[in-house]
Amino acid sequence: MLFTSLPFVCFFVIFFLLYWYIFSGNLKLQNSLILTGSYVFYAWWDWRFLFLLIGSSALNYILGIYIDKSKNEKQKSLLLWIGLIQGLGCLLFFKYFNFFIKSFISAFGVFNIKADIYTLNIILPLGISFYTFRTISYLLDIKSGKIKPATDWVVFFSYVAFFPGLLSGPIDRPKTLIPQLEKKRVFDYSQASDGMRQILWGLFKKIVIADNCALFNAEIFDHYKTLPASSLLFGAFLFTIQVYADFSGYSDMAIGLANLLGFKITRNFNYPFFAQNIADFWRRWHISLTSWLTDYVFMPLSAYFRDYGKSGLILAILINFTLIGAWHGANWTFVFFGFLNGCFYIPLVLRGTLNKKKKAGSQSALKAFVNMAGMFILLMFTFLIFRADSLSQAFDYYGKLFSPSLFSGFVITEKLNTAVTLLCIAIMLLTEWLQRDKQHALQIDAIKIFPVRALIYFGLIFFILSFSATKNADFIYFKF
């Protein structure tokens, strides 16, 4: 059930009517509906892994209660470790087992030793990286005394499985979502209509921009060995736009759906293409993941390494970013992607510009624009590694990209669709630039004339209906 599919629309309409008309005013029933609906939504993909989701929720719920109850620090730590081993163990097994085995075999191959180990046919349970991070932060926050355990099991199980963010985030923290699940919810028209607008914007980004970019750049990446370098550059551009439109489009829809149910969930993107430098970019991109790792990995590491000055800070950054990369999947491309992003921080740390940030307004608009363009070009080249099947393919692509044919005209097969996609990209970037102080691009209450607002909504619906890609691609982040 993709958010963009007909079964999901039917599911959500029924859910919405039950939630606000039949169960309205009864918190327990509403929460039970959220839990049941989330499990139906999950089982639609693959019912077998529902047991893992339920089992993991049950264990962490019980551990949370006992961590809070226990007066003995050692016992608290032991209970926490049980939860961490279960969560990270499942994650490592399902996501990285074959990767470790294959890397192990190839490492032995260097010494001409044939390792006789077999890989397993493991299917990745959808959303495991997202819900595991939710359960881990729940236990860590109880252990450090930041939160109390959830008041009843339905609340906690719903927190873990809340369907708008179950498969691809945002990774909500317990202190954000659990209190909202425990509080009576009243239908708020302005919140719901804002949610609808955010869903519309997400649909536009996903169906019109990301899916079309996916079609064109797949064509380029499949034939990169024979195409001129200028086409390869265009492919890199399209992929950078695609990954943003796809994931931020999904996040917009998830946040919008949550708003329709009366929830405010974590913001995941803050217009990352307008970042001034790499640190600024990672504060704006996949915020719920980066802030999670900042709190639970980077901060403890940087505190631990603080006696080593700048080298300690750089080491903490490199470990943190390598983990961010590896979180995306079991491939050296992701590990290298993360490590490289960590390396980009080194000049900022060495120059001391992390803490001597130029105040907004103190630099010229031209300088700000040059910084943004520079960041975009850097991202284009970095996301190539993210897109490639292997590191050798990524380097091969780079090799072909930096050749004299970079200055030749590029080959476009579907001229009309490409032109429309480029127009839509321009519309997206321009709208987001104008709305960069708002939570999402369609918060256009400042336009007081209703027909103008309606024209914008219908314009977007027209693009969605007329120029949706011929092939509806899965969300990129589902496989993470």
């Binding site: 709190d295 901060m299 403890p300 940087s302 505190a303 631990y304 992390l354």
Partner: protein, 80 residues
């Protein structure tokens, strides 16, 4: 040193590290209230505060502060 004297010194450290002369901290100030006080700068502030007061925090203390007031409590417990 009483709490208000500690706050004054901590304020000076923040001004120096964050390069912001206009910064005025209170005990209730949190990282959300100061734009440049982020995870990257936090540890540099901690090191500078440790140097200034000639004290050493535990990692747990550093990770538990939610406001400037809580940081001041940690400092005052070590400078008695």
């Amino acid at each position: 040193m009483n709490r208000s004297e500690i706050l004054k010194t901590v304020n000076e450290v923040f001004i120096d590290i964050l390069d912001d002369e206009s910064l005025v901290l209170t005990e209730e100030t949190s990282a959300n209230d100061v734009e440049d006080w982020d995870s990257l700068n936090h540890i540099q502030i901690v090191v500078a505060v440790e140097k200034q007061f000639k004290i050493r925090f535990t990692s747990q203390e550093i990770l538990s502060w939610k406001t400037v007031g809580e940081m001041i409590s940690s400092i005052s417990s070590k400078t008695l």
